[in-house]
Structure formats: C-alpha cells, structure tokens
Symmetry: D2
Subunit: 332 residues, 4 copies
C-alpha cells in the first residue's frame, strides 16, 4: 500500500520516513510540505539516505494514497484533513487539531475549531482504543505526554480518586520541534533542566479528556538535556484495595507487544526505549501514604508520535498492528 507523509521537514516527519523505510507493507509514495516543497530529501534528511524531492502539500496529490500521515502544525492539519477525509483517504494526524472536543479545543488553543464536525476524531492510542481504529476516516494520533500519561493512568480507573491526580512530565528537546528558539539553543540546553508551559500546557486537557474520569489533573512538564525520550510520572490517591493495582496493570497490558510492565520495585529508563515503539512502566504502591505512583517512559518521536501513528495506520488498514515497528531499542 502507498502512503503519503506531509510535513516532511520536522522531526516527526523524519521519523515517519525512518520507520516506513523498514515497513514491509507501506511504501512512501509522496513526501509533501509547504515550506520545503522542491527540496531534496537527501538534503533535508541527511540521516535517511533517501532519493526524491518534497512536493507541495496539495490534497489532490495525496488523495490517491491508501493513507496520509499529517506531521504538520495543527493549523495545517485543519486545512488539509477535511479534503482528504472527503476524498475517502484515511488520515493519521499527528497534530493536536482533532484530539479534543470542539469547545475544549477552543478554550486551550484560543481559537474556534475550523472543522468542528471532525473533532474529536478517533483517538489513535491502540492499546486503549483499538476497536475504533479499523476503517477509521480520521485518526488523531495522541500527543507524546498524553500517550505516556494515559498508559500510566488507564489501569488506575476505578482504583484511585480522580481528584488530585498529579502528572510530572520530563521530555527531551525534540518534543519542542525543530524550530529555532532561545530556550532550545544547545549552549542553554546542555546541563539544564527546567519546567515549562505549566499550568496551561495543551496536553493537559488531552490527558483529562481521554482518561475520562471527569476531574482536572495537574500536569507539569520539564525539559531535560537530551534529544529524545520522555517520562510521565503519575501520582494518585488509592480508593481501592492496594492489592488490586498490580493485577490491573497485568490485565491491561499482558498481551501487548509494545508495553512492558516492569517487575515490582523497578523503574523504567528512557534509554531502554530509544528508537523503539515501546513503553515501559514502573508501578509503586505506597501503603504509608495510600498513594500509587506510576512512571511510563517512551521515545517521544516513536511511541509518542511516528511509531504510534504507524501502529494506528496498521490497524486502520487491516494490517497486523505491530507490522514494521521496532521493539528493540538503540541502547546505549
């Protein structure tokens, strides 16, 4: 099957091309972009060794694909998705355009939603929403932090008090994109850790909405000195038997090819998922405080973006969900 990738100049676009180069069933037919139209792929992505050029991001050029990945800013996705959906081309959108209900989007993005009939789209976190993916017209691929936070939170539904949930996020700089910014200058970033964006980071309502427990959470992201890798550390107060926590995680993820729940007492490390579509979780029940802490690590560009998009595309297109996705990480 042929696929298109739009937004080829960013990190998620490059990661889609890296992963699709090893995919046995999906072939990249077109790489499209606005700002980079005409550029050689070899110059844009010296790490990929690909031939060809970027073409303009024109729905007409994309509609013949069996699926299209939009690795574009949300404004561009809002512009492109409706025409593709209307043409019957399955769309995997990696932006925040279609992850939230219209009114929540308007509140957190500060603008009315430009395609309200399409939002919220099917939320492409296969471990939690697998049954809605086959044949979906439009998939909102989750944000990086929500992916990790929701994998940590999902098994806790019904076991913890929805009020008072705290999520600490730690992410490498690639999560902030490839644009030039003072706070992404290498000399600033080496040896530096800093919170940012709280309490109005747009991933906050995404976590709240898709956990669906009806209470606001507090989410504080921090940037850490590395290019890729992400941790979401969730703390919540138990309302159920603490002995139910372990089994809930085993049941939730026992058969999942991409999710590993570590043995009791062990915490995961982002280095162990680098470059892979995997999530590792550590779970600790603290009888002293009556709280549970769950940490989930992912590679923000793979399970947190491009890998998850391909996993969702596999499901949409009727392929085995794990097709073409690496479970072995690049370590050290």
């Amino acid at each position: 099957m042929d696929v298109g990738v739009v937004g080829g100049s960013g990190y998620a676009g490059g990661e889609l091309l890296r992963l699709l180069a090893g995919h046995p069933a999906l072939k990249v037919r077109v790489v499209a972009g606005q700002r980079t139209a005409g550029a050689e792929l070899r110059a844009l992505f010296p790490h990929l060794g690909l031939d060809g050029r970027v073409v303009p991001a024109d729905p007409g050029a994309l509609a013949d694909c069996d699926a299209v990945f939009l690795a574009t800013p949300h404004a561009a996705s809002l512009g492109l998705a409706p025409a593709l959906v209307a043409a019957g081309t399955p769309v995997l959108d990696l932006s925040g355009a279609f992850r939230l209900p219209e009114e929540v989007f308007a509140d957190w993005y500060g603008e009315p939603h430009a395609a309200p009939a399409l939002t919220p789209a099917v939320y492409g976190l296969p471990e939690l929403h697998r049954d809605r993916l086959p044949g979906a017209a439009l998939v909102a691929v989750p944000g990086c932090y929500p992916t990790a936070a929701l994998l940590a939170l999902a098994p806790l539904a019904g076991l913890v008090d929805p009020a008072g949930v705290v999520v600490a996020g730690l992410s490498g700089t690639s999560g902030a994109g490839s644009g030039l910014r003072e706070d992404l200058h290498a000399s600033h970033a080496f040896g530096n850790v800093a919170p940012y964006g709280a309490p109005r980071h747009r991933h906050t309502p995404e976590i709240e909405h898709h956990w669906g427990q009806g209470a606001p959470i507090t989410f504080t992201p921090h940037v850490v000195p590395m290019a890729r890798g992400l941790v979401a550390t969730v703390t919540a107060t138990l309302t159920a038997d603490p002995a139910a926590v372990g089994p809930a995680f085993c049941e939730a993820y026992g058969g999942e090819p991409f999710v590993t729940v570590l043995p009791d007492g062990a915490w995961p490390a982002t280095a162990h998922v680098r470059g892979a579509n995997t999530a590792h979780l550590g779970v600790a029940v603290d009888l002293r405080t009556g709280r549970v802490t769950v940490a989930c690590v992912i590679d923000n560009l793979v399970k947190g973006a491009a890998g998850q998009a391909i996993q969702a595309a596999n499901a949409v297109l009727g392929l085995p969900e794990a097709t073409g996705l690496p479970t072995a990480a690049v370590y050290p």
Copy 2:
C-alpha cells in the same frame, strides 16, 4: 579562622574545597579522609590546584579547628561527630546522620541511631532556621532535594492542604556520589532519564519532618543526564485565597541574598544556578484546578550541599552569612 574538611574524596568534599579557596575568612587547615589518607590533594582533585595531602580522619587532628565539615557517609559522621562535639568544635555534617528524630531515622535507615542524644541537630537551612545557627554545636546540613523542596514548601504552610502534597525531583548524577555503579555508567546515563528510589527515598521523611505539617508527602526523584543541578517541583491543593500565594513568597524571600522568586509565569532553569549558592523559584497558581505548583532549582553540590554548609558555618561562627559564597552562576 581555620576549618577542617573530612571526606575529601567525594564530590561534596571537593566542592567545599573549591568554595573555601575563595572564602576570605575561613582557611582550610586540614583535609582528612579514611580511604584517601596519604593521597596528594593535587591527584585527588586535579581541578583545584591545591598543595598538601589528606590526613587520617582522626578527631584529635581536627579538634583544634574552629569548625569541621563532615562530607562523609552517615556512618562515618555518626562515628566522628560525638567526639568533635564533646571537644567543643562546631560540626557541620553534610550526611543524613543528624537530620531526623531518632525513631524516624531508625525507620528509614533500617538501623538504630548510634548517637541519639545528638539528633535531630540544628537543621542548617539558614533561610528557614537562621536563628538557631549562631553558636550551634552540631548542624545537620540539609539534603539536596529537601533544600529545594523546603524552600518551595515553606511559604505555603497554612495556605495549602498538607495532605496530598506531591514532590517531583530531578537531579543530575553528582547527587548519587562518586562511587562506581552500573546506573552511573556514562554510556547508560547519556540521553537517559529514569525515576529511582521511590517511594522509600530517605529525603522523603526529611522533607516531611522539616516542613512540619504532619502529613505524608509523595516524593519521586528522577535522575537526568547532567552532572549537577536539581529541581524540586511541588504540587499542593490550595485552602486559602489564591491571591495570598504570591505575597507569601515575596515576604519569605524578599531580603534573601541567595533566593530569587521569578516573575509571575516564569519557570527557573538549573543552568542559571550552576556553581552558585542560589535558589530560583517559579510559582504558578492554577485557578482551574485550585492547586499551586512551585518549582525550585539549585545546584545540588552548592546550595544543596557545600555552599549551604558554608552558609551555615558563617552563621555558626558569627560571620555575615553570605561571606565567600558565589551568587553568579557559571552559564552557559
């Protein structure tokens, strides 16, 4: 005045020597150590350019000093401090030996306290316990995480619900000491972030005890890929008027030479305190959730260890508290 430094082979010992080299009133008369006795300072600390050798850590050799810094593991501090205190030599202990009440120590360290009459000693966080320092016989210099967490928490006393406080910690690797360990291997640590130690990290009861609000907190530390720097990010539920938060921080730290509260909406960065005895705080009240988030950054080896020890020693010895301590950081 002459001071002694015991435990000269570790990072905190080296940092004491670096800072004392620029101190106008305190002169290092003796550097003592057990494992490194006899070694040249130049070989142990190639970055300091010091003459002299390490002598055995014998209380007799130290008692003539006007003050002694113990940058030793807690077991060594428990052995050395009683004799020095008995000899009337002020002791600044950087270990966890004397920070907790006897029974709390026993619970978290898994051993009975070997010098119960001396614990808890005066807690050497000058911004919070300044009045008890002049003339103190034994000062327990706070741990790195507790320093940052307590500076973040102290102004919140009375404004938040003591139950449900969550502290996320992020620290560079130097906080784990200079000993060789698999998880401190450079190849593992580059590009890696991981939680560790939770929920039984020994800094947990230290934060609880010295905040003194009577409720357990949840503390989850993470190691981040850099040598020094630390963030404590505190989340708590407001019980008072949200408008009281800002003034509480201004009042608490308005005149402090080492503590800066950032303007509304700004978050601190560890790079801005590297090598300095400073703490930077960012505070965000979230009306949507009714919670407050406070992040405090320090250099774990300076304000989190050696710098704070010297600040406390200045107070103990009657010197102006800021004497000899850098407020300008090494950036970038």
Copy 3:
C-alpha cells in the same frame, strides 16, 4: 540460517542482538557468555524484549551454528576461535585477537599470540576487502577507529605522502565498553572531553597495517560526552594533483550502499549515522597548505562493530551484503 552470539553482556553483543532481531535471514539460535551464563536475556538487555537465557560459552554448543559472532575480549576470542574454526563454523570475531600479524600483535598487546596460525585473519571491512570474505573461516571484524580511519585513508593511497599522516579520533563512551571505571563515571563524563591512550592505542598498528603504506601514523583518540558515535579525522600531505582527490573518493565509494561522500565543503555529523550501518565522509583539499583532510563518521557500535560484523557475515554466508542492515539513522 542460525547464528550464535558469544559475549552477550557487552554493548557490541547487545547491538548484534538488536540488529539480528531485524535480519530476515539470520536467526539467533544461541546467546552464550561466561560471566552471564544462566542470566535471562530480558534482564541483561531490558531494551530488547527478548526471551531466553544466556548459555555457557562452550564451543560444542556453538559449532552447529551457521556462523558465530564473538563479541568477547581478545583473550576469550583467542580461546574460542580455534575450536570453532577447526569445526568448520565460520567465525566473526569483533575483538582485536586476529587483526594483526603475530609479531605486531605481540608488540602492542604485550603478549605472544596464542593462535599464531590464525592471524591475521581475513579483515572484515567489506568496502576494502570484499573479495576475500565469501566462505572465510575466520573474519577479524575491524576496530571502530580503524573502520573510520581506513575508509578515510583508502582512497588516498598513492595520492599522499605516507609519512606524516595524522589521525584524530573522537568517540563516545560506549567504545570503552560497559565495565565500570572512574573515567567512565557519568558525573565525570558529562561536559568533558579528553585525549586518552595516545601514543600507544592498539588501533594505531591496525590502521597502519591495513592501510599498508609502510609508514607509521600518529593517532590520538579523544573521548567525547555522548554514548555512541565516532569521528576519525585524517590529515595528510598531497603528493599528487589535488584534483585527483575528489574523483578518488567517488570511484572508491560510488556504488557503496553504506558509504556516503558529502558534497564539497560539507562535513559529516555523527548524529546522522546513529544506529545505522552507514559512514559519512567529508573531504577538503587545502591548496594553501598542500594537505588534504578527510573526516569519516560512523556509529562505533554499528558500522564500527556489530553492523559491520553482520555485513561481513552476509558476505561470508553468500547473502547480499546489505541484508538486514539499517541505512536510516535515529535522528535527532
């Protein structure tokens, strides 16, 4: 075909397992080790998600394999290779045991060679020695620095003065292995660069011998603060027409799937080959000085170790040389 991997506890062993997991024709039948015999692969390599256990490194258990990779220290390779070769099992040795003539080995390793009849083995740098690989009984997989230095030097043979060649090496810490050492402590390694090993690094005679121009080179390696990636920067004095340099590199590598010569004036970056079996070269002729500088970057664990071993194994076993090897790098 079935292969065995010995020395599964190190970085090169892990990288072999990562790459072989994606190889369509080679299946890992046995992972053997001395120190780690009995350990679960899942515990040794949390990043790989593999089932099974390490078995003792017994030639009998390995001889049924179609090929065996030795990712072992040279002493272990010297012990294992003769029996495997005698049994007719092709051996790919990643250590330095069989890369040098007997007497050169003795000089630089400070010990007589324990299997002189087998050394030097076929040198497994396919781009330069492709014709000797099919059916080889024992392949000495090149060292990481020699791989990069020889790819940079080979096209210069006949164009430069063999005397006076200078090679600067820069490598991430994984090149030093996974053993615990003071200079590999994370807190020391972050933000640190240092030369090491010169002028007696064992890769020096390997570069000299396999370039084969008969003059000693000066090689100075430096460790740089990252886990993987390596640069060899070669400087030599031109004796031929400077205009011959560019075409020599085009001719040497024009059809190579893993070697890219960058456009004039461009220098390569290690980040662009991370995790891939690729080498990128930059070439600059300096008419002012009459010298040429060539920089070659590789991932020291892939093209500098495990990837190259598999590339050589493909050739030994009659598979297309590029089978199963990634050309797309993990960037950023």
Copy 4:
C-alpha cells in the same frame, strides 16, 4: 578602578560580568550594548543576579573608564576601538579585529581592515607576551583555539619541524556564540560531534602568525556535545633531541599560576578547568614515530575569552596578573 563591558548580551560578555563580580580591584561601571541597550541586566543574565541596565555603546560613555572590554563582533570592535584608544582608554578587545596583520586579516576576513594603524595590537596571551602588556593601549585578546594551540606549541619552537604541524580542535557549543543557528539547535547538538569550518577557520592564521615559525599549519575544529570546554591537540615532527621536550615545557610554564603541565603519560580533561582561568597540558613524545603530541585544555569562555581578558587587563593596569581570577574549577 572602573571598567566598562561592551557587548553584554553574549556569552563572553556574561562571563566577564561573572568574573568581574568577584574581582577585588575592578568594578563594572557600565555595561553597554547596541542591540540590548535599555534591557535590565537581571533579564539578560538571570544567572548573575545583577542590578542595572545596558546603556548604548557610545564611546563617550565609556571613555571615563580605566579600561574597556569589548566583547563584540569584530565589526563593532573596529568601530569602537579607535575612539577609545584616541581617548587614552585602554581597550581589551575579545574579537578577531586586531589579532592579525592588515593583509592577513584582509585575506581571511574577506574585507579590508578598517583601522589598519591599530593592527596587530598587543596580543594578550600573558604567558607568551607578558612584557608588552603593561600600559598597552589596545590588547587583542586571543581566540579560544589559538590560546590553547599556542600554549601547546610555544615550547616546541626550535624542537620541531614547523612544516607539517597539525592541530585538532574540539570545542563546546558556546564557542559559536549565542545566535540561533540550525547546527546549534539542542536536538541536533545532543549526542553529536562534527568537524566544521576547515580548512578556512579564522583561527588558523592567528595560530600561524603568533607561533611565528613561518609555515602553514592544518587546523581542523570539531564541535562536541557540551556547552563549554576546549581541547587543542597538536602533532609535530621532532627535529631535536626528544629528551628536550619535557624540560622545555617545565621551563616555559614552571612558574605560571594558570598553566599546569601534567605528569608524563597523563592527558588533561576539560572538566578539570570548567569555569577556571586555567590551562592543563599533556605531552607525549613518541619515539616510534619521531613525533610529539601536546594537548591543551581550557574553558573557552574563561582562559579562552573573558578570564584571559581580565588577566591581560590586570597586566595592563599594573595589578598582579592573577588578581580576581579563579584557579579552582567547577567539577564535576
């Protein structure tokens, strides 16, 4: 004495302010800048904790100072220095404006020199040109690479063949300044090493001219993944008795407060000079090749820029040369 600092928004300007904050005899009276005029120092330099604002870079406002530091691009230095010199205000220029003879400057900078009567100024490398500094009107503070390369080369004059000298440079990203550039994006820079600028880096003629041996050198700089720290590794062919090398270095630097020659066989590490005005040198004579390799490490912003400027200013103004400059580094 009062000094002015122009170009306060860059890394060298910030480092001047950090070091001058601890200087007992020099007080910063004015911080001037073009682009940042009017900005609060506290906002520009959150790591310094300074009061005051940047004023416009007007020679009139600066001429009353006892000395002025120009931490400006070379074009700005060319504009400001003549008026200050004419007014009799000693100038310490950290740019490349006055380091080269007029015609060499024109060749390498691609523009005629705008103030040819002033170039080359007194070259402010005190260890090599101390006698010309007292009372100097204009000092060209050396570049970072030339500082390290010249400290490594100077003792070799007369002992090596001036032809065929090769210098490998390795520098952290702060050497490239604080401007935003694709190759200084954090996500690109983490875990990345790359040569750059060769063979036309402007520090090349500076090394050649100030070594003064009349032969071209080959200089290849590399960027390494850290914010500060620099190595220059020099290789040259011996023409004198190899036994003369060690004594030459001892004699050259035996009494220098900022230069340490390491024991035989030891190589220096940039981490050991971080934040300090020190240079560490390792020297290895290789009898096998007849060559000598010398590596010199410095902090590019201290001994390679701001610290050296202050060291030179001390000499110009008649203060003890080491006044106010740290010899203890921030390690780890």
